[in-house]
């Protein structure tokens, strides 16, 4: 039996070690935001952060995550609150700047790819707080095993939202 940390909580895993993390998160741990898109690391719908780095959970064995920290969009608010040392009261009322930006900019159309898109945005902004349009495009297209694909065509909105999130983060949050 493995223990992994998901969104700040230690979770015991009963699935076999070789099970892709995606199915453990969704089916065993009821963490539902990473989506099954291709099972081939070709689309990014299943992306999660593993110790702050984006991985494709559809092809990554759960054993890879042993002793490490998995973050999904359910854990983004808490991640931001911890980074900003917010009080529990403040934390409960706070969205991650990426989430706030995604709402303000009305990014999702069908939204199926957006969990992965937001994970990618978070990874990008944590390493590069003020990315320009070309850097954003490059992060979503050329970094990682494949580009992050959106069929509804929300790429314009994503770029605007990453820029918007960057300005919120530069102010230390929306408050």
């Amino acid at each position: 039996m493995l223990t992994i940390t998901v969104n700040g909580k230690k979770r015991e895993v009963h699935s076999p070690d070789s099970t892709p993390l995606l199915y453990v998160l969704r089916d065993e741990l009821d963490v539902n935001s990473p989506q099954f898109g291709c099972g081939l690391a070709q689309c990014g719908a299943c992306s999660v952060l593993l110790d702050g780095q984006e991985i494709r959970s559809c092809i990554s064995s759960v054993s890879m995550a042993a002793g490490k920290e998995v973050t999904t969009i359910e854990g983004l608010s808490a991640r931001w609150a911890k980074q900003k040392s917010l009080s529990p009261d403040q934390a409960a009322k706070t969205l991650h700047p990426v989430q706030e930006a995604w709402i303000e900019q009305q990014v999702p159309l069908c939204g199926f790819c957006q969990s992965g898109m937001m994970i990618k945005a978070t990874e990008l902004l944590e390493s590069k707080p003020n990315p320009n349009v070309d850097e954003i495009k490059s992060a979503f297209t050329d970094s990682g095993p494949s580009a992050h694909l959106c069929r509804c065509g929300s790429y314009v909105a994503i770029i605007e939202a990453v820029r918007y999130a960057s300005t919120i983060m530069a102010k230390g949050g929306s408050k």
Partner: protein, 781 residues
């Protein structure tokens, strides 16, 4: 004034009644009754809607706290319309604030009234929910008149309050302690693609008094999606649920010889289920089911079949072998004049053939459904469908049962742009059959290759177009033959494979939806054309007749269906004709337009894109060399009452065929703009999909099967490839109607980009997609 001791009142043909007084709560519920004699079929099927019209669950509920719930059989596929525009329309017609519309119930067969496919949601300006709200406001006025003792015509409404004669009352106070029902007239067929339609003509709010429509309210579904709270169809988990994977046939004409057996040592809890040619692997966990399905697939034997032309010979097959005589050729209503005489008089003639490949809806998530079949013969299906009632009908037909035994619940999922507007998306019927077989809830999740290879396709098409120009460089005659196989096959694939009842395959005997006939879908824009003939030729789906499964390459409507296939050749040809006339392609369009709205959109496009008039090709056009050459193009269409035009700028390297769309400006007039921000996002998204379709999309298939199986073999546009996109919204409240805001956007890109390639290289390119490898070859030829 109506005496409130009366039990009913007539409200513009609707019936308002008081059923009882209540000690607490209270409600005005809006239900429906079928228009007398209007729809015999519907009337015999009232039992299939779980709604009892006498119950307070229906279209709209006004509650004592002045909040409102409304229900719609339409779902959300990323348009956001049911959560934004519909809310705004209901608020507007009720004369209440947007924030009063607190609850939206969508697309469950047992919880929503009207059914119908999720497309054209603003329905030429008159969605059902608008009329339902308008009736409701009239009922409110009636109730207020009785309560206040003031005649109706002396009352006015604002922000959920009725005022008049120095008195006022909140809507909520009118329903407090009452159980009121408003029954409105409807007609139609609940489980058809169109569903039910609200009838009658209740007074609508004048556009000049709009307060809620026109503002950018946020989509409530966005918040739940970005915080991980959304109830996605993929999240549905039922107690005891089993995970299934399908093993689909080796080709679209293969019959099962023998299903493989599960390696019980590796997969002790998993089993194979076979029903006719439907093979599936079912296990307690998802990963075990996936692994076992790979193992069983390897050992499963199918008969060989070759009945497809392969995509390299597709157009040769369509031209020479397909039967275009099985159904009559349709002519467009706009055909006019004497085309042969017009051609005879022409000084220059363009003759061209344009070819469009099969494309995929290609949702980011493959189709998935959970079915729970009970021993009493009822089944509940959890799905992501554009038409829950039609899916219910299909599943009932497959099971040989009454639709009352089938409930479909609709959840958010990956958008699929038309695939399920007639009911199924792919996995639902298979889930039902397996749940019935195993007596447990079953979750059927197609894998990426299933979704690419066994879902329906946007049909391939080709067109022969001839344009004659007179001595002044104007169109003297336009002659077009459009050829396309049947465009809508709604048969559930699992039912076909299992040999169970389905609707008929598209044929010459079919009706509006399932006929193989082809018809006009692209309204003519260039009104000054004196002589015009457009003919539409239909045929069977490729491979359908020779396939032992009767499937072949199954087609289905996909974003801007049929019009995509007709507008591409027309707009390409118009751009080429402009070049032949030595005219600027945008001015050439303006010179042939008479419709003021079209002219206005083209003028706005011209100004906003910085368009400088000159003919194509551009002076430095070349089809050779390793240097980048640039070009630009324009296109236009009238879609569902909305006027669309775009201008693109591209860069192409002739030696390699490498192409990049650098700038894209799109202008749109959809009449009354309900929500500018949501419309902008739809238009941007459609533009990106359109560029993707133009540059990349083509379904590869060989002589037996679709070979495109993933995102490598069916590539779509990546973020790094998008151009600078500028959206120009033209608000026309004076036209007094709404029009759909997303479908046109995807169809515009391809003809404009194709024209831009011609502008840059001087070579007319007449097929899609514009992949670099194809462009390189076409420029060499």
């Amino acid at each position: 004034m109506i005496d409130m001791t009366q039990q009913t009142a007539d409200i513009f043909g609707a019936q308002l009644s008081r059923r009882s007084l209540m000690k607490t709560g209270g409600v005005l519920a809006v239900g429906f009754a079928f228009l007398r004699g209007g729809a015999a079929r519907a009337a015999t099927e009232t039992g299939v809607n779980a709604f009892d019209p006498s119950m307070p669950e229906s279209w709209i509920e006004i509650r004592p706290d002045n909040t409102v719930l409304f229900r719609t059989g339409k779902s959300d596929f990323g348009q956001g319309t049911v959560y934004t525009a519909y809310r705004q329309i209901v608020a507007e017609e009720l004369d209440m604030p947007f924030s009063s519309i607190t609850t939206v119930v969508v697309a469950d067969t047992d919880a929503t009234p009207d059914g119908g496919g999720t497309f054209d949601l603003l329905g030429h300006g008159m969605p059902n929910i608008r009329k339902a709200a308008a009736y409701t406001r009239q009922a409110i006025l009636q109730l207020a008149s009785d309560r206040l003792g003031v005649p109706k015509d002396q009352l006015s409404t604002s922000d959920g309050i009725v005022s008049g004669g120095g008195k006022h009352v909140a809507y909520g106070d009118l329903v407090k302690g009452e159980s009121l029902k408003l029954t409105i007239p409807v007609s139609g067929d609940l489980m058809s693609i169109g569903g039910l339609n609200v009838g009658g003509n209740p007074p609508l709010k004048p556009v000049s008094q709009y307060k809620v429509i026109g503002k950018s309210f946020k989509n409530s579904a966005v918040s739940s999606k970005v915080t991980g709270q959304e109830a996605w169809v993929t999240n549905v988990k039922l107690p005891g649920m089993l995970h299934a994977r399908a093993i689909h046939p080796a080709t679209v004409g293969s019959k099962l010889v023998a299903a493989g057996k599960v390696d019980a040592k590796r997969f002790p809890n998993t089993k194979v289920v076979v029903k006719g040619d439907l093979v599936a692997v079912v296990g307690p966990t998802e990963w075990e089911a996936i692994q076992a399905s790979y193992q069983v697939a390897k050992d499963t034997k199918w008969t060989p079949w070759k009945g497809l032309p392969g995509n390299a010979k597709l157009f040769q097959h369509l031209r020479q072998d397909a039967d275009w005589k099985a159904v009559p050729v349709n002519k467009s209503r706009e055909s006019r004049g004497d085309v042969p005489a017009g051609m005879q008089s022409a000084t220059k003639v363009l003759t061209a053939t344009y070819e469009l490949p099969y494309m995929k809806h290609a949702p980011i998530g493959p189709t998935v459904a959970v079915a729970d079949y009970r021993p009493d013969g009822t089944v509940t299906v959890h799905a992501h469908t554009q038409n829950a009632q039609a899916l219910r009908g299909q599943l009932a037909m497959m099971l040989g049962t009454s639709p009352v035994n089938v409930v479909v619940k609709t959840y958010a999922g990956a958008g699929h742009y038309g695939r399920s507007n007639g009911g199924n998306a792919g996995a639902e019927d298979e889930a039902v059959l397996l749940s019935k077989e195993l007596g447990k809830p079953v979750r059927m999740q197609w894998m990426r290759n299933d979704d690419m290879q066994w879902s329906t396709n946007s049909p391939a098409a080709f067109s022969d177009i001839k344009i004659g120009l007179n001595a002044n460089g104007k169109i003297a005659a336009y002659d077009a033959d459009h050829y396309m196989p049947a465009g809508q096959d709604d048969r559930p694939i699992g039912a076909i494979l299992a040999g169970l009842p389905t609707m008929a395959a598209p044929s010459e005997k079919g009706g509006w939806i399932d006929s193989i006939a082809n018809g006009s879908s692209d309204p003519w824009l260039y009104e000054s054309t004196p002589n015009l003939a457009e003919r539409f030729h239909g045929t069977y789906q490729v491979g359908q007749k020779s396939s032992p499964l009767a499937v072949g390459l199954r087609d289905h409507s996909m974003r801007t269906p049929s019009q995509y296939q007709q507008n591409y050749p027309r707009e390409c040809a118009i751009s080429e004709a402009a070049a032949l006339a030595g005219a600027d392609p945008l001015q050439f369009r303006l010179d042939h337009a008479k419709d003021e709205r079209l002219i206005h959109v083209l003028e706005r496009l011209k100004a906003e894109s910085g368009w400088q008039p000159r003919p194509s090709p551009q002076p430095k056009a070349t089809k050779m060399g390793a240097a980048v050459v640039r070009g630009r193009g324009v296109s236009a269409m009238l879609r569902g009452g909305g006027y669309w035009a775009c201008a693109v700028e591209i860069a192409i390297t002739p030696a390699t065929g490498a192409i990049k769309v650098e700038k894209y400006t799109i202008a749109v007039d959809v009449g009354i703009i309900i929500n500018p921000e949501q419309l902008t996002r739809q238009v941007q998204g459609g533009a990106v999909m359109g560029i993707s379709e133009a540059l990349y999309e083509e379904v590869a298939f060989d002589e037996g099967a679709i070979t495109a199986s993933d995102w490598m073999s069916y590539p779509i546009l990546k973020m790094g490839e998008i151009p600078e996109i500028k959206v120009v919204l033209v608000n026309r409240p004076e036209v007094g109607m709404y029009a759909q805001g997303s479908e046109g956007a995807n169809a515009l890109a391809a003809p404009a980009i194709t024209a831009a390639v011609f502008d840059a290289t001087g070579v007319p390119v007449r097929r899609l997609p514009l992949r670099s490898a194809y462009l390189k070859d076409m420029l060499k030829a």
